[in-house]
Amino acid sequence: MSLIKQYKSGLARSKSGIISSLTSLFSSGELNEEFYEELEEILISGDVGVESAMKLVAELKEEAKKLKYKEREQAKELLVEKLTEIMSSDETAAGLNQNPHVILLVGVNGSGKTTSAAKLANIYRQEGKKVLLVAGDTFRAAAIEQLEIWSERAGVDLIKQQAGSDPSALFFDAMNSAQARGIDIVIGDTAGRLHNKFNLMEELNKVHRTIGRCIESAPHQVLLVIDATTGQNAVAQAKSFNEALPINGVILTKLDGTARGGIVISIRDTLGIPVRYLGTGEKIEDLVPFCAADFARALLEA
């Protein structure tokens, strides 16, 4: 209950945009061409992407026709179902049976990795787990200090080296230290990097390999952090990062603005990568697990 509420308050903070337009569109009236065209535009304006939007609407149209739907309300329910189906994922966030369980956060510059790392640490600490944060962004000025402040707020340990040091070496130390200290969850921050920078992606791949050499089958989760205001480029991001190291899920951040983050539908649809968490604010508790049904409902109901 409280989760859905928090989620919705993030999504519904703005009455403009996709939510209200969908509500008014769906509220009444008959199913006609104009409705479908408008629907396509609304999806596009929510960053769903032209291709995905057209595909979604075409399918909806066909199914509605088959079911002999006449009302917009019926089509709306159908769309909720479709979106839920696309966005749902069978695998729950990988089991935490192996200790330490290693989670690595990656993404482009400014997407919110460092803040998400702290929020995630907070979630696990509240579950009573022993958490270790790794200040893996050794490039950006003061990124280490930023995570240090967060780690104090979350009340978890932090491993760091000086700015400019090799991230792989840092993670090597961090993995050994985590095992020695009996840590349950290791959360690694990394430097932001644009996905078309070959050398930086190679560096990330090396971090991944290093972690795997220290702890078998680690990292257990690699989460791609995506800013909800990102447009179509997010698909290219997901694709490139996924080529450098296997991405298990997405953290969609900054959902407390007016952006709807519809691009995750394309990411899910084309790459099969599910959304795991949503960032809904600047406070440490503003990170909630993703739920497909809520996402679809919140997208269509104000």
């Binding site: 930023q146 644009l194 996905h195 909800a228 997010a234 900054k254």
Partner: protein, 450 residues
Amino acid sequence: MMFSSLADKLQNTLKHLRGKGKLSEKDVDAALREIKLALLEADVNFKVVKEFVAALRERAVGEEVMGSLTPGQQVVKIVNEEMTRLMGETQSGLAFSGKGPTGIMVVGLQGSGKTTTVVKLASHLRKGGRNPLVVAADIYRPGAVRQLQVLSESVGEKCYSNEEANPVEICREGLQLAERENHDPVIFDTAGRLHIDEEMMSEITAIKKEVNPHEVLLVVDAMTGQDAVNAASSFNDAVGLSGVILTKLDGDTRGGAALSVRAVTGCPVKYVGVGEKIDALEPFYPDRMASRILGMGDMLSLIEKAEAAVDQEKAREMEQKMRRQQFTLDDFKEQLGQLRSMGSLDEILNMIPGGGNIPKEVKQMSLNEDNFKQVDAIIGSMTKKEKQDPSVLNSSRRRRIAMGSGTTVQDVNRLLNQFGQMQKMFKKMGSFDKKGGIKKLTKGRGGFPF
């Protein structure tokens, strides 16, 4: 992402139309659909797209197709012109105060790149002979003040901060310090904020009132999607923007947000951020951005880079050789050297239309520094005669070269293959004057031999 190139698509759509004539309503409709899709794929806001396409239709219907162009190219030309016009035809610089320090306030959403941009801007203006001061007014994000301090220090810029004061006070004190110590301009780095956060938005309104800046610049992430219009218009309503800085343009995003933001605020883009290094700040060229949004690559930037790297005299000589098809392996080696001095191949590939779609394996191969060294070594192991006429290279000569350069015969063969391809390409290109160069290179996607 599936877009190869808008120019190709339009060419396809309009290929039934041969020769000259006027663009009919039907041609225009077909072309406009492609343009609409391209703009949406590039993240231009859909309302902006609608208005833009409507304006295009008005202009394009009945337009004569110029003799040298095909109908497809004619439409692209119109689109490009209209888009350049919409984005402001010329570069816009910063406004400076006549007396006293110029205030430059930098605002934007979280993670858009304000702090980095502030230091880039300060460093850029210092090169222009000014003496800037940066002011750290982001007291909210952990480590933000420290980030600005460290970055400023790294390039020798002075940074003012005060941990006890609120952002409005900090900015006032910063301005006073600038007046005392003759800094000009003063650049205020404000905290990232959501445009719907009323409390935070009223803070920047208060700062603006306090320091009365000459410029209020909105920092926009080039990867922003449809929501760019909401954020930009809210910031504009709250503080009255004077310009925009587009960041992270070194990514492979098409950057449609530039058009959206310009359309809703009317403010020109003044600078673009093109890398993580402090000197990676460039002036904004509307025409280049137009091509990029349309998915036609940034050939102009590429050509400019090439011009900067290539010795003009040598270039002319090279051109003569290409025309006469006397391009030798020695020239090939020299060209490689020049290519390397243009910047990373990664960057260059991304400026070529369709370059972003070059398969990973090819990029990997081409980006490998060792590969360059290998080419150097192989060519270096050839005799003068062999370099001038590779056709004399029989298998025993190839074996000798492989031994001499510490490579294998396969490596030597591959290089000769690449060289052959390059020669073929030059044959196709014929003349290589600047204009023809653009047009033909644009069409010759994938023709780059590396």
